[in-house]
Subunit: 229 residues, 2 copies
């Protein structure tokens, strides 16, 4: 499903100063795999996730998604791919501040041209699954940190993506809510063959996955298979 | 140092609907203690922290800080207390988007009327301690999630507060960076008698503290002493 080769990303900071956020990263992820990405703060994980999610382009290297060379597509084609195939949970959630939890979760269905009553039905259902019943009409600043995170997860899943990219999806959650989320993701993985890439700092979360990619200073330094428990 | 009695906070949501975020919470924290606050997502931890940090007032109950009844103070007096005595690490960082890491960290010193060269010297020093040398002139959106979190921690500590309130200060950090932060906090605790209140979901962090207060549905349900290891 995913093939990256030689991905390099350099942020220019002034004229003579650049941050090499990713350096020559190459790997393959097959359809239906569940992969964790780990590494120190600043090692390039979110940068990599943005490229995988078609939100950003590398400065060097190639990214082939479901057989298409993404680096050659234009903005409209990328937006269409994102809406149809990809669910993205951002590290800082990126919710719309003036939209309710229900509206935020339903947003991908607006782009997918789903009718209003069906959107509302699906959004309510997913909020209930995530333990947010009673919070539908709250704005993000009327939600706790962990509740905002769960709205972001709901928004990423509501359009039944084939690829879920989750940047530290349980960072704000207590252990029970974290376990519930991992159980939900593993169910979707098993029953729908959802391909999942999770950035995490927590070994517990990583060992729920089949494989761990480790970054350090923008390089891929390890690609480990997780032993079956 | 801290005495709260019967704290209650109710968020009105429309005319007939309210969320009881805190319900009759009472406890005392002595000067020099290091206390963890734990509880499920939505249980009222951040709401409690905002009241302790003089950023919000309860609807019922009293908060006495260093002998002063905070609930009777006006906006200016509260702002002055916050700047002089309290360092606050927000769950979502609350950095100024158009200010650099250096400027964000130095901000409490501007309010404290510290001269520019001294501010810059102290801000650089604390960024170095936090592993952010080389990132001084980056804006928050040019920093990784864990780097933003560390800037927020630096800003909370730079004016040598007597009380540190940290709402999930290691949520975005890998285990090494987390350990470095906890080591820094414990050093300040031991050497300067800093009073520390940390909201955390992670038992490792909580067991670095002397005491754990547990919230559930807005109530204080436990107040446990942590055994010495
Ligand atoms: N727009 C930008 N301009 C300059 N440097 C940037 C920019 N965005 C990110 N960086 C730098 O690129 C590096 C990688 O950032 P990235 O966000 O990918 O890290 P990360 O692995 O996700 O870290 P964390 O675990 O803290 O979230 C960091 O050192 C960061 O300072
Ligand atoms: N402005 C608001 N209006 C309405 N309800 C609110 C508001 N702010 C918070 N709440 C509600 O109050 C409750 C407590 O919120 P709080 O942010 O204190 O929880 P928390 O314990 O910090 O959770 P988390 O671990 O997820 O950060 C939540 O159920 C939340 O939905
Ligand atoms: Mg990141
Ligand atoms: Mg909170």
């Amino acid at each position: 499903l995913i093939q990256v080769e030689g991905l390099t990303k350099i942020y220019k900071q002034g004229e003579n100063h650049g941050v090499v956020a990713l350096r020559d990263v190459s790997f393959t992820i097959n359809r239906g795999e569940m992969v964790a990405i780990m590494g120190p703060s600043g090692s390039g994980k979110s940068t990599l996730m943005h490229i995988l999610g078609c939100l950003d382009k590398p400065d060097k290297g190639r990214y082939v998604l479901a057989g298409k060379d993404v680096t050659s597509l234009d903005t409209f084609e990328l937006a269409s791919i994102r809406n149809r195939y990809i669910g993205f949970v951002f590290q800082n959630f990126n919710l719309l501040g003036r939209a309710t939890a229900l509206e935020n979760v339903a947003l991908p269905l607006v782009y997918a041209r789903v009718g209003r009553r069906e959107r509302e039905r699906r959004a309510r259902k997913i909020l209930q699954t995530l333990g947010l019943a009673g919070r539908e009409h709250h704005l993000p600043n009327q939600l706790s940190g962990g509740q905002q995170q769960r709205v972001a997860i709901g928004r990423a899943l509501i359009n039944n993506p084939e690829l879920l990219l989750a940047d530290e999806p349980t960072g704000q959650l207590d252990s029970k809510a974290s376990a519930d989320i991992m159980y939900l993701l593993q169910t979707l993985h098993r029953e729908r063959g959802l391909t999942i890439v999770i950035v995490t700092h927590e070994p517990d979360i990583a060992y729920h996955c089949q494989r761990i990619l480790r970054l350090r200073d923008g390089r891929l330094v390890a690609d480990e298979k997780v032993d079956e428990p």
